[in-house]
Symmetry: C2
Subunit: 339 residues, 2 copies
């Protein structure tokens, strides 16, 4: 058993152990998260996503440093970084990332960095990320940076965890029609053009502005709900206050633009809180997490109730194309559904 008081009091070693338990989805980790949950809800969750090659890790490094050393007239904030790599199911890419990023911030007890590569299922990864964020939140980290690699649905799902989502672009990537297809712009609360000292930055900025005009931020609230069940249909008819995502240029390797980016993040937090969106996003986030857990629990329960023998028989019929996948599901559920 993990003593949750050690986590609440900020014991680093205990937290580190808990994170491993969460990543491995152990009963101890689950029990601790249950106990810690009432102590969560205080952190500002900031998602950072974008295509490979945009310099997200450096940017996250710089932001962490900013919250530690550059806040004007405020106490330094405790910063956690969860780096999620859903696109690397095979090798430990995230571990390599760790080494690169650690230099600036090593030895600072107010910073905690944790990387996680995909472990099989995407649902498992999202659940583990949510759990880690909760652990950091309960442990008193005020800023939690969630960094994801890539630009797919996985990143959209993980961005749903955040209050504020930064989408990072870089000059020279995505100036053609394919970039429009990437479509993650529409999850952006703040657009960052990193590597802004590179040629082509004006084109990138122009392209992003053009795309912003096409996007409809209001839809975001609609998308957040309606995922699973309409918890609060009233929210859907209420018109959401507008937030036009600003574009912020940075050169993370040199640290330029970071203070301005920090101000935009703070401005977004104030907007969320005054508009009621903070609360709405919290609810949407919890709903998503609830749905994912429901799904995986339903599958585990079913697995516990079906015999391997029966599964193999049905799968053989499927592999021989005697029955379709949907017919196989029907046979498996009617036979093997737990009482």
């Amino acid at each position: 058993m993990i003593d949750i008081n050690t986590i609440l009091s900020g014991n680093r070693l205990a937290l580190s152990r808990l994170l491993t338990q969460i990543e491995n989805d152990t009963p101890e980790g689950r029990a601790a998260l249950n106990d810690l949950f009432p102590h969560t809800g205080n952190a500002h969750l900031i998602g950072v996503t974008g295509a490979p090659g945009t310099g997200k890790s450096s940017l996250v490094n710089r932001l962490a440093y900013f919250y530690r050393h550059s806040l004007q007239g405020q106490e330094a904030k405790r910063v956690a970084v969860v780096a999620v790599d859903p696109s690397s199911p095979f090798t430990g890419g995230a571990v390599l990332g760790d080494r690169v990023r650690m230099k600036d911030l090593a030895g600072d007890a107010g910073v905690f960095i944790r990387s996680m590569a995909s472990r099989g299922s995407l649902g498992g990864l999202a659940t583990a990320t949510a759990g880690m964020v909760q652990a950091f939140d309960a442990a008193g980290f005020e800023i939690i940076l969630i960094e994801t690699v890539g630009a797919g649905q996985a990143e959209v799902d993980i961005a749903r965890l955040a209050h504020t989502t930064l989408v990072v672009e870089a000059p020279g990537l995505g100036d053609d029609i394919q970039a429009i297809k990437a479509g993650i712009l529409e999850i952006a609360d703040i657009l960052v053009i990193n590597k802004a000292d590179r040629p082509g930055v004006e084109n990138t900025e122009r392209a992003l502005k053009g795309m912003l005009n096409l996007a409809h931020p209001v839809q975001r609230v609609f998308q957040h709900h309606g995922q699973f069940m309409d918890v609060e249909p009233a929210v859907l008819t209420e018109s959401a206050p507008m937030w036009l995502p600003p574009i912020q240029k940075t050169v993370a390797t040199e640290g330029s633009g970071i203070t301005e980016l920090g101000s935009e993040i703070e401005r977004h937090r104030l907007h969320l809180q005054s508009s009621g969106d903070w609360e709405r996003r919290e609810r949407a986030r919890l709903e998503t997490e609830l749905h994912q857990l429901l799904q995986s629990t339903l599958v585990s329960r079913w697995q516990a109730g079906v015999s391997e023998n029966q599964y193999q028989q049905v799968f053989k019929q499927l592999a021989d194309r005697q029955i379709s996948p949907r017919q196989a599901v029907k046979e498996l559920l009617n036979g093997g559904f737990p009482k």
Copy 2:
């Protein structure tokens, strides 16, 4: 009801209607897929994935054209294209892609192109893609190109649908450490450097060769299984014959390198069939599809059995942080689980 004979006999309008039914997951679409399933298993499924900006759509166009007009001493093959855009849950990016790609191939009855943007859940998208591929397969399309945008877990999952996966890169993207994190290299059967007339192509090729030496293709077989249940544990101990992914340079806009790419695809097909990997991938694919369908069916059944009132009560406790997400799942499942 859809008369499946119209599909089997190649009626284009009937196929088009069926594809819409599949995309909308209607009872008619499901019933037709059940009936068509015994007629599937003949097509060569070719996945094409890679980051935005690499020119995948042009490449897919050219490949379709190749199978129609450039096969040496063979009859032209019927070609279907399923363009999947999992990263665009909000706007119809895929529709735009359609217009760009249609020019070359319009009016050819041996080519069928269908785009699909994400409709909510990722699982739904994968299921719809699998269904469309089955419909094309049953309708006698011998080559099915499955194009996905992006480089995340979604693409890995969709690549699992294919017998042969092409990963497309382009010079100037991904020469830094982030590219290694993308990690989709390891799902590549064939690496394509498109836009190979651009500066930096030697660097890209060198980087890819270096990464290929790090990747272990043997793991792929292991990853394909072990996703859900070990159907054939014997497969895991059997050593897989080696396939070293070749690197093929192309300039899709000019059509250069396409014939050579076609030869590599054919060489891979022969390798799969002689090594037994074709059969193994078929099984892995069916297993993945079965798992996804099981999951969504379990959730629907549970939803049908729980009252909205009960759901709302539990969700309120969760939103107030009185209970954790996992405790909420427990309450919902113990109360609302269908008999």
